[in-house]
């Protein structure tokens, strides 16, 4: 008899059972339904649905706005992280806590608030439209909402790296005569890239699927300002389950590809780091 399959700590069977049952019921079974439904579509039919002009326009809006919002936060996320970690100013703790607001605030609340602010009768909307820039009910509005929801991802992935940055590298750069800007650009920023990119990927993946904060401000005009998640609900409202499933699969593929790319990136940087220290 091999005793090896015993564990020193109790609870293996119980927790394994709980996890498998829970995951099976909550995740695997429903996802299997997704596969089942899409299998009921023929390949040609599937292709026709996912490449319909309205669907293509929806991908363009979804991926485009998500990328744009990610780029905005690519600048402001690390900036905010830097200010929070390195500067001392009154209200710093408050700002630090507020960064998580988009995580904590229900997306519908964010959605109606941003809409009210940026609509043409809202305070910001009025001011911007005076300069000929219409935000609400256009892709710009979608981008604004996505900037809001994805901001914490970038701040929170860069912040811990900055906190644990060894000061000696910067000090060394300073003693070598580098100016502060040069040091930031050539010494600090390169060490932050992996964190920035992983934050970007998480933000992008989240923005692809975002629904609540976007639909109010988007205007939801097919071909112009309709996002893919909304297209799914639109198809569901018409009881077009197969169509909804097909679009959902494309959207899922987008998120998975993003997260897969992120994992690969992390693998590469981990490997490079450990090779560097060896």
């Amino acid at each position: 008899m091999r005793a090896k399959h015993r564990h020193a700590l109790p609870g293996f069977g119980l927790t394994l059972g709980v996890c498998l049952a829970y995951l099976g019921l909550i995740v695997l079974l429903p996802l299997a339904a997704l596969a089942w439904k899409s299998a009921s579509l023929g390949a040609g039919e599937f292709w026709a649905i996912v490449t319909a002009p309205r669907a293509l326009a929806a991908y363009r809006v979804t991926f485009g706005c998500a990328a744009l919002a990610g780029l905005v936060n690519l600048v402001f996320g690390p900036l905010l992280a830097w200010v929070l970690v390195r500067y001392r100013f009154p209200g710093r703790t408050l700002v630090d806590a507020l960064v998580d607001l988009p995580f904590a605030l229900p997306t519908a609340v964010a959605g109606i608030t941003l809409t009210a602010l940026y609509a043409s009768n809202g305070p910001l909307g009025r001011a911007l439209e005076a300069h000929g820039w219409k935000i609400a009910y256009t892709p710009s509005g979608i981008t604004v909402a996505l900037v809001f929801v994805s901001l914490p991802f970038l701040v929170r992935s860069v912040q811990p790296v900055l906190e644990h940055l060894e000061p000696d590298v910067e000090e060394a750069a300073a003693t070598l005569g580098a100016g502060r800007l040069t040091t930031l650009w050539r010494v600090v920023l390169p060490t932050l890239w992996p964190a920035i990119l992983s934050g970007f990927a998480l933000a992008f993946a989240r923005a692809l699927g975002e629904y609540g904060s976007v639909i109010f401000i988007a205007g939801n005009m097919p071909m112009v300002s309709e996002i893919a998640p909304l297209l799914i609900t639109a198809k569901l409202d018409q009881y077009d389950y197969a169509g909804a499933t097909a679009i959902a699969l494309v959207l899922l593929a987008g998120s998975f590809a993003t997260l897969l790319a992120l994992n690969l990136l992390q693998l590469v940087t981990v490997r490079r780091r450990s090779a560097g220290s060896a």
């Binding site: 700590l9 609870g11 119980l14 927790t15 394994l16 709980v18 996890c19 829970y22 909550i26 995740v27 429903p30 339904a33 402001f76 900036l79 905010l80 830097w82 200010v83 970690v85 390195r86 500067y87 001392r88 100013f89 703790t93 507020l98 998580d100 607001l101 995580f103 904590a104 229900p106 997306t107 519908a108 609340v109 608030t113 941003l114 009210a116 602010l117 901001l151 811990p160 906190e163 644990h164 910067e170 000090e171 502060r180 040091t183 993946a205 692809l208 629904y211 609540g212 998640p229 909304l230 799914i232 609900t233 569901l236 909804a244 499933t245 959902a248 959207l251 899922l252 998120s255 997260l259």
Partner: protein
Amino acid sequence: MSAPRLASNALRDPWWLRLPLLMLALAFVALFLVLPLLAVFGYAFEKGVDFYFASLVDEDARAAIRLTLLVTAIAVPANTLFGIAAAWLITRFSFPGRGLLLSLIDLPFAVSPVIAGLIYVLLFGAQGLFAPWLAAHDVKIIFAVPGIVLATIFVTFPFVARELIPLMQAQGSEQEQAAITLGAGGFAMFWRVVLPKIGWGLGYGVILCNARAIGEFGAVSVVSGHIRGLTNTMPLHVEILYNEYQRTAAFAVASLLALLALATLALKQLVGWRMRRATPADGTHA
């Protein structure tokens, strides 16, 4: 985390760099975070205090609040139990398929809430896989409370597990092993050793899970059917009011949710602070 040494001159940005960066960052925060937060309360009270409270005690609003509390009261404890079980399984045992399990736990983060709702519609909806069986037994899941609970559980189940797994990994299992060699059974070990050890981290995860469960919109919206007084949660009620041009009433209910969000942020800050303070006292684990 405490700030790194700020004393060193080499780490200080000169004022001509500090000032603009600080201003830019604060302006961004003001525009994107502070202003929306204030706007929620501003719009909520734009027709005065009486109207505000009238909106909250409205029949449908009260039903929505009750439903949200009910759903949260089911989803959060369920996910807490699952989170503890999953964290124990993943950090205390090695077994084939562990990595796969870990990625399955993360899965809901990669799935759009709308899709989370859709998959349950495909299973339990009128044309769903189980539709015949459900019809035969007169069980309603979609456009009813069970569907809302399921969808909420789906989108919130990673939170507790995600918080506990790194924590328990870092803490190691020596105290648990010590408890076992002292004759403790699984139950005694859990109550007397594991739970006190993970307490703050668990609280942190529960807070996040709770916030998301209360505020979930997309997934719930797909499975709810928006039946007033029956299947409307608070966020859905906000949507309906807003779409019916009852903006002030919508913001009144929204302000409750915003208050909950603020409470969540405060609690999160507090628990995070306690957790960081508790960690060095563990001493034995680097």
